[in-house]
Each structure stands twice: as structure tokens, then as C-alpha cells.
Amino acid sequence: MTDEKTLVSGIDIPSPASATDDGGVLGTIGRVGASRRQFIKGVISSGAAVSSAGYVFGGMAGCATEEAPMAGGVERLISLNVNGETRRVDVLPYETLAMTLRYKLGLTGTKLGCDRAECGACTVLLDGVSTYSCSTLTHTVRGRAIRTVEGLEGPNGELHPVQQAMIDELGPQCGFCTPGQVMAAVALLEANPSPTRDEARFALSGNLCRCGAYDHYLNSVMRAAQSA
């Protein structure tokens, strides 16, 4: 309860409904230091919070209000370990990790392409293993180390060797699939620092590139493997 900004990160998104004078329901609770149970009750009963989530999730606005989930399931306020930091966030039971990362935590480096586990743009690492965040419920990754493309940045802002290699080899064209390709390559090189080109091709086979820059990406991975 010490860090208000962290606490409210789940719902602290600009929204006409939650932008009340007192800073919104969550801001109020954060200041008076209410218990977690009261906090969750506040979130559930608060129309402001619900409509805020609806704003963030666009088309989901209707769902959130028309069907109040029955009690007894997961608690919505959870801690996630994202890029080495603990982030407190309010997560719906049916929310995917890609949604949480992009629209609750502001980590928009993770892209949403197909939203069906068929393209790889949303690839993140869970405990070092590449995973489609569009097809993973956020509640199932509590306690796991989540790494996104933002987490690759070095202490002085330098690029990860894979990212640098992608620049040097002109890896991406349009760039939309690049964060996913980077994460798949990082997972590969951490498990196997000197892969063959075929191993790299296999490891990146779960990431589509509509520009067809596959060979450039492979060149980048092989360069990164040599430079590491």
C-alpha cells in the first residue's frame, strides 16, 4: 500500500468514468489504506472500475457488466513478476496476458496479431520459455518470471545482442512481428548459445513474418549467436 501508482496500475488508465474528483475509487482506497478485501469489494461494486475496464478493452464493455461472474473464483488483484519488477494489477478472470501487458501495464512492445496462437507476435518469455501471451490467461502465470521485449534493455539503455544483430542484418521490414521474433530468438540463445541455422529456423518457426523476412531474421540470430 506504499506505492499508490503501482497499486492502481491495473485501472489507472484515462477514462471519463473513473476520472472523478477524488482520483477514482482506487486512488481513494490507496490513500486511506483499506484492507485488500475491502479494496476488491470496492472494485467489484464500483461502476467506475467496471466501465474503466470496458474502456480499456473496447468491445468487452458489454460483457463486463451484463454477466457478473459468480463468487468463489480467483481474486482479481494479483502481483506479477514482469521484467524483474513486481507489478500489482487488477486482472479479470478471463483476461489474457497480452491484454494485461499491453493495456494494464503499458508494455505495448508485445504485439497482438492474430490473438489465436497462430502468428507469434505476442511471444513473451515465461521463466525463460517462449509462450504466446494471447493464449495464456494472466491468472495462470502468477509467480512466473515474465519477460517482454522491454525487459531486454541493458542497465544503460543498450540493446540486447539479438536486437543489435537485427539492426545490423536488416532483420525486420515492417517490424510488427519483430518483438515476437526477438523474444523467440532470446529464448533459443539462452537455452542453446550456438545453434545451427536449422535449429534457429526450428526455434523461430512459431513466428510468422508477413513481409517474408525470414532469412534476414535467421541471419540476425546467427550473428547474435556469434557475438554473444
Binding site: G59, G73, P93, Y94, T96, R116, S135, L137, T140, S205
Partner: protein, 329 residues
């Protein structure tokens, strides 16, 4: 209607098999056991299927991992396909299973996708997936079995109103290995042979396996019978990644004194269930696994196949895969 946003559901995260079964039993038809979630969330996002209470199995103790037992190997239902393809124990004794797991979907899907989810997944018939009111969805027609129906991916055998096929790559391997599926519900545990675990439309047109609401597949037990056999697995699909099989084949055989002493073979994506090729097994047993035997077996394997407008190609495809399995394993 939104095609991306899931309808709201409540999520439960039991930590034991006992609790999971209790929850699934309580929710009945409104409950949904979720393993890796890859297929589950697609159904929900497409708004074709819905469950109000989803039971996430990822935190259930004891459902994951590969264990050596007195008479074989037990694989927890929540073991990922990546763990199976990388397991030295599976590679050494049952390489056909490791090979089949390696050909499923994409690396990321194998990293979260589980063996239990892979065998329990629903069919990929794209009319059914689209949400039309076909037989399998409780309606009274089949959209694939019509003069204009796009049935390139559909069955060669076992058509009974529905003509969809099993999409699993690991299922034929498990049938070949004579695996046993451990299923737990409120009444206790039962074991079902892999061959009987998968069911066709003549038994129940609305499900692909014997699993009923309240049932939980907890483990897959592979006996020693076929450990260390000469194995063969091949999958033919449009792309090497993601795509489901057009036909796949798994086989295990022992050769003694130049002749096949024992053999088991199964093919996927040609019937609603993995098709055990008993006729091939009978023809091949006692013969040398050579070109001549392979040719005979291939012809026998496709006898009685009944293709639809667009899936004739599966007949020579299956025939050739059978030949290769005998000749090249």
C-alpha cells in the same frame, strides 16, 4: 458480435486432483477443464463454445512430469509437449511419442500445450469450428458432406452423419504404444486403453473421447510392451508449423530373424478416431519388412476407404505412409 473478446467466466485454480474433480463435478456441463489453454481460449474468443466456470489445471499438484513405474512410464496429463519431446526417457524407450510431440503445432504451443490437452482436443472441421449448427454441434445436418462442401481435411472411414477427423498427432503414437488413460471423477479412478479413449460419431456425435462432464484425465500410462521397438512417425500437413495433419502415421515393430514378429500401426486424420491398421499388422507379421511386404500392406491399408469430393488424395497418401513405415522404420 465481437470475435475477440471472451464472454466473462469465473476462473478456479485448484491445487489438487481432489479439488479439481470436486469443482468439475459441481459445475457439470457448465464447467470446463483448461490445460494449456491454447484451444480453450480460441473456442471462447470465437464465441462458439462457452463455459461459465473454467477450472485451470496448471496449479494442480502431481499432474505434471514423466515418471518411471514398475511396468512402464507414467506421463502426467499436464506434461507439456516440449517436455515430452525433450525427455531422454521417452526418446530412449518410446521415440515415436517424442517424434509425434515434436510435430505438433509450433514451438510456443508445444511449450504450453499439454499431452492431455492434445489428446482431448476437439476436431478441426472448419464448419464445426465456425459455429454452424451441424450434427456435432447438436444440429441436424453436415455442411462438409454436401456437393459443395469443402471436405479436403475430412474422413475416409467411419462417416456417420459427421465426417470430421481426429486432429491429434500424439494420439496415433499412444494407440501404437497401447497406452492407458487414467481418468478420475467423483466415483474414483478408471483406466481406459488409448484405443477405446477416442470415440466416433456412432457412439457420441458431440464428443471425441470418453471424457464426460466431471471427468478429469490425470495421466497416461505407457506399458513396457513396445519399449525400444523400431518406431516410425510421419506427419503430412500443408505447413511444417501449426497445421494439423492431413494424414499422420505411427508404428512400432519388432523384427526377429529378418521377419516382423510384432507390429502395431495407427493413422490419424483419416477417421474420427486414430485408425488402428489391424489389417496391415496381420499382413506384415511373419514377413520381412521389405518393399514387397510394404506394397501389399499399403494396398490393404486403404481398402474400403470412402473419400468425399476433395479428399481423394488422402488414399495414396496413407498408402505411401504405410509403405514407408514398414520399409523405413
Amino acid at each position: 458480435m465481437s470475435k475477440d473478446m471472451m464472454r466473462a467466466f469465473e476462473l478456479y485454480q485448484p491445487d489438487s486432483v481432489e479439488n479439481a474433480v470436486e469443482l468439475l463435478g459441481r459445475f457439470g456441463a457448465d464447467g470446463w477443464a483448461m490445460a494449456g489453454g491454447n484451444d480453450t481460449l480460441d473456442w471462447f474468443k470465437d464465441r462458439v463454445k462457452y463455459a461459465g466456470s473454467v477450472v485451470d489445471l496448471s496449479g494442480v499438484e502431481g499432474l505434471s512430469g514423466i515418471r518411471e513405474t514398475a511396468d512402464g512410464v507414467e506421463i502426467g496429463a499436464m506434461t507439456t509437449l516440449t517436455e515430452i519431446e525433450a525427455s531422454p526417457l521417452i526418446q530412449e524407450r518410446y521415440s515415436v511419442l517424442a517424434d509425434s510431440a515434436r510435430r505438433v503445432a509450433s514451438p510456443q504451443i508445444r511449450n504450453t500445450g499439454t499431452i492431455g490437452g492434445n489428446v482431448a482436443q476437439d476436431t478441426r472441421c472448419w464448419y464445426y469450428r465456425y459455429g454452424v449448427d451441424c450434427y456435432r454441434a447438436g444440429g441436424n445436418s453436415c455442411y462438409a458432406d454436401t456437393p459443395q462442401g469443402q471436405n479436403r481435411e475430412h474422413c475416409l472411414w467411419g462417416a456417420d452423419r459427421c465426417i470430421a477427423v481426429t486432429p491429434s498427432d500424439t494420439a496415433p503414437a499412444l494407440v501404437v504404444l497401447d497406452a492407458r488413460m487414467a481418468i478420475v471423477n467423483a466415483d474414483g479412478e478408471r483406466e481406459v486403453p488409448a484405443e477405446e479413449f477416442f470415440i466416433g460419431p456412432e457412439i457420441d456425435i458431440e464428443r471425441m473421447t470418453v471424457l464426460e462432464p466431471g471427468d478429469l484425465l490425470t495421466a497416461i500410462r505407457i506399458p513396457n510392451d513396445w519399449a525400444g521397438a523400431q518406431f516410425y512417425f510421419e506427419k503430412v500437413a500443408d505447413r511444417n508449423t501449426w497445421d494439423f495433419p492431413l494424414v499422420n502415421i505411427a508404428s512400432a515393430m519388432f523384427v526377429e530373424g529378418g521377419a516382423v514378429s510384432r507390429i502395431r500401426m495407427a493413422a490419424g486424420a483419416v477417421e474420427c478416431v486414430p485408425r488402428r491398421l489391424s489389417v496391415v499388422e496381420e499382413i506384415v507379421t511373419g514377413s520381412a519388412p521389405d518393399e514387397e511386404t510394404a506394397a501389399l500392406a499399403g494396398q490393404a491399408a486403404v481398402r474400403g476407404a470412402t473419400p468425399f469430393n476433395y479428399n481423394h488424395f488422402k488414399i495414396p497418401l496413407l498408402e505411401n505412409l504405410v509403405k514407408r513405415a514398414i520399409r523405413d522404420s
